[in-house]
């Protein structure tokens, strides 16, 4: 009985219905080539969405993470080229730390000055992107300059197949990193005291404080976590597309927030799950990517994303309607 009332279940149903409809319009949707491509497009948005999910559960919002991702990617790769460092592990640690450090700024401003997270993160995002483009540079680092080991790492496939036309395609192994991070986030949110404190903070900050949760630490953790994941995702994105463009990710924050809301998280905090977010991300990526398959002009993409946000938020608002004054 409870299964059918869970929002994850409803999202999954809608997702399957959408897949069947898209498959009916164009059977090419079900080709392994297309499905592998879809999963690949999930990775970056998905990793960022995990961070946004945690922020949203705590009752906040973050629109600066895309700027952090761009900064972490560009700075790390510039540094690698400058020092001639060859390797994979350390750069990812560095990118994650850059994101974490920038996320700490968000936490500092939000906590110290008790300011609305949206406005703080608009400011920090603008500061970071402005500094990155204004001081570090605007030029794109091309494939011939990109660290080869990063590219080789991101090229790893789980399955490699050859299609009927003779082109090679495969399922990227990066999907394992994404799912691994999702599992860790899920276990953390569900089974650790720190994870529960995030739900407590988002559900009722004052109550969480009085029960004895250290809300300050929770808040700092939440924004650092989102920043760290964004930094990691940024470098992974650069490695996967073989380019480092400091202008990347502009406007992506809307897609990520849409995916998280679509996955059933409440912007008021206290509600949301990793499984829902995975489904939400898949839904958003699928609809966006399938417009071409469905022969819809790509200029409609933003309208469709906007409609998805409205429908998803209207549904969650309807679900939460009793809570409102």
């Amino acid at each position: 009985m409870t299964l059918f009332r869970r929002s994850e279940f409803i999202i999954a149903c809608i997702l399957f219905a959408a897949m069947i409809i898209i498959g009916l319009i164009n059977p090419a949707f079900w080709s392994l080539d297309n499905l592998f491509g879809l999963l690949r497009s999930n990775v970056i948005i998905g990793i960022m969405a995990l961070g946004v999910l945690v922020v949203m559960i705590s009752g906040g919002i973050d629109v600066s993470f895309t700027a952090f991702a761009a900064a972490a990617m560009y700075l790390t790769i510039k540094l690698m080229i400058y020092t001639g460092y060859e390797g994979v592990f350390l750069p990812f640690v560095a990118a994650t730390l850059i994101g974490l450090f920038l996320g700490a700024f968000n936490a500092f401003f939000i906590h110290t000055f008790r300011m609305i997270p949206l406005i703080v993160t608009l400011g920090t995002g603008s500061v970071v992107r402005g500094l990155l483009l204004g001081l570090v540079g605007t030029s794109v680092i091309n494939i011939d300059k990109m660290p080869q080991q990063l590219i080789a790492f991101a090229k790893t496939d789980l399955v490699s197949l050859t299609s009927a036309t003779g082109t090679n395609f495969g399922l990227t192994a990066m999907i394992l990193i994404y799912l691994g991070l999702a599992l860790v986030t899920h276990l953390f949110l569900r089974y650790t005291l720190a994870g529960r404190s995030i739900f407590a903070l988002g559900g009722a900050p004052e109550a969480a404080n009085r029960v004895g949760f250290n809300t300050r630490r929770t808040l700092i953790f939440v924004y650092c976590f989102a920043g760290a994941l964004a930094g990691f995702a940024g470098l992974l994105h650069g490695s996967m597309i073989w380019l480092a463009n400091p202008r990347d990710f502009a406007g992506l924050e809307l897609d990520v927030i849409a995916a998280v809301v679509l996955g059933g998280a409440s912007i008021f905090g206290g509600r949301g799950s990793v499984i829902g977010t995975l489904l939400g991300v898949f839904m958003l990526v699928m609809v966006k990517n399938s417009l071409i398959i469905m022969k819809v002009d790509t200029t409609w993409q933003r309208v469709v994303v906007g409609l998805i946000i409205i429908v998803a938020t209207a549904l969650t608002a309807w679900r939460d309607r009793k809570k409102l004054v």
């Binding site: 400011g123 603008s126 402005g130 849409a258 409205i310």
Partner: protein, 331 residues
């Protein structure tokens, strides 16, 4: 005595306006010091009066949304859509140059009305989603902003629409008695909004709703309807900004003024608007606007890149947040 009571009425109870004036003077002094020969020219101030209005009207629109604790992230989308819709209309009716001036004026009038109507309609959509469907303003306007920008892309297919009639350009580029038309429009709009917020039931209700929504409902205020009206006003103002923007640049494009969103929020917050609701004055927003226009024109004269100016805007926003927090702990 009368002088001080007049000053009190202008400045109100909050010391915010005074702080703003000090910031403005400081910015002015700093920029005059850094580039004395270029900053203090008449031309510089004249060009500010052309660039300032569109941003100022967007900031006032943002303030109105913030009065009830909301926010409108779709203002830039509305502004662009309004300009583009008028542009598409002109392209479809004005073929060749054989039109008489009277007809062109008529078409321009219709174009302005269409732009304002689409702004009002966009505001109605936002108001409906927020007050009837109870979607949080952040998410509702995030979604509608995508829709409006998306429709703008669909209408134009990407590139800018150019070729507006002369009368349309007059709105953004003309002069009346030596003063920039957009500046006059800004003063009129700002004055009208100020009167609306302080002298009418609607304005007072909005302040009360923002201060304490629950108490406002128990006091019998029609909260939903008031919020609905406030987003209609926001939409209409955004469309006016869109008309001025496309008139000034003689073009309309789906991604014009993308950085205006942050700047509008910044000016509203710097102008003493409380994003949690209940506080905001047109006078404060206007002074904040002047301060920031002086700042950015000064840095532009210093040949700072646009990216660095974005950085300065963001840094200023964070600084203001910190300043406001310290001022509030004083009490």
């Amino acid at each position: 005595m009368q002088n001080s009571s007049f000053a009190k009425r202008i400045f109100g109870q909050d010391r915010n306006i005074l702080q703003l004036l000090v910031i403005t003077v400081l910015v002015f002094a700093l920029m005059s010091y850094l580039n004395p020969d270029k900053f203090l020219r008449y031309y510089n101030f004249e060009s500010i009066t052309y660039i300032m209005p569109e941003l100022g009207i967007l900031a006032i629109a943002m303030m109105i949304a913030m009065l009830t604790g909301g926010i409108d992230l779709s203002v830039v989308g509305i502004a662009n859509l309004a300009g583009i819709l008028a542009g598409v209309f002109f392209h479809s009716v004005i073929v060749g140059t054989s039109q008489s001036t009277g007809m062109l004026l008529l078409y321009t009038g219709i174009g302005v009305l269409m732009a304002l109507a689409i702004g009002l309609l966009a505001g109605v959509l936002n108001g409906f989603l927020i007050s009837k469907l109870r979607i949080t303003p952040i998410l509702a306007t995030l979604g509608t902003g995508q829709i409006f920008t998306g429709l703008a892309v669909v209408l134009t297919g990407g590139p800018a629409i150019v070729g507006f009639p002369d009368a349309w350009n007059f709105i953004g580029n003309g002069k009346i008695l030596g003063i920039a038309t957009p500046f006059i429009l800004f003063v009129v709009v700002a004055g009208a909004v100020a009167v609306l917020l302080t002298r009418t039931t609607l304005g007072v209700n909005l302040m009360l709703i923002g201060t304490n929504p629950r108490a406002a409902i128990f006091a019998g205020l029609r909260k939903d309807r008031m919020i609905f009206y406030s987003y209609m006003m926001t939409g209409l103002l955004a469309a006016i900004a869109g008309v001025i923007l496309s008139g000034r640049t003689n073009a309309a494009k789906s991604d014009y003024g993308a950085s205006y969103l942050l700047q509008a929020i910044l000016i509203a917050v710097l102008g003493g608007t409380n994003p949690a609701g209940g506080k905001g004055r047109v006078l404060g927003v206007s002074i904040a606007l002047i301060a920031l226009m002086l700042l950015s024109s000064g840095f532009q004269i210093l040949r700072f890149s646009n990216h660095l100016i974005d950085f300065i805007w963001g840094g200023f926003l964070l600084l203001v947040i910190a300043l406001n927090a310290f001022r509030n702990t004083d009490r």
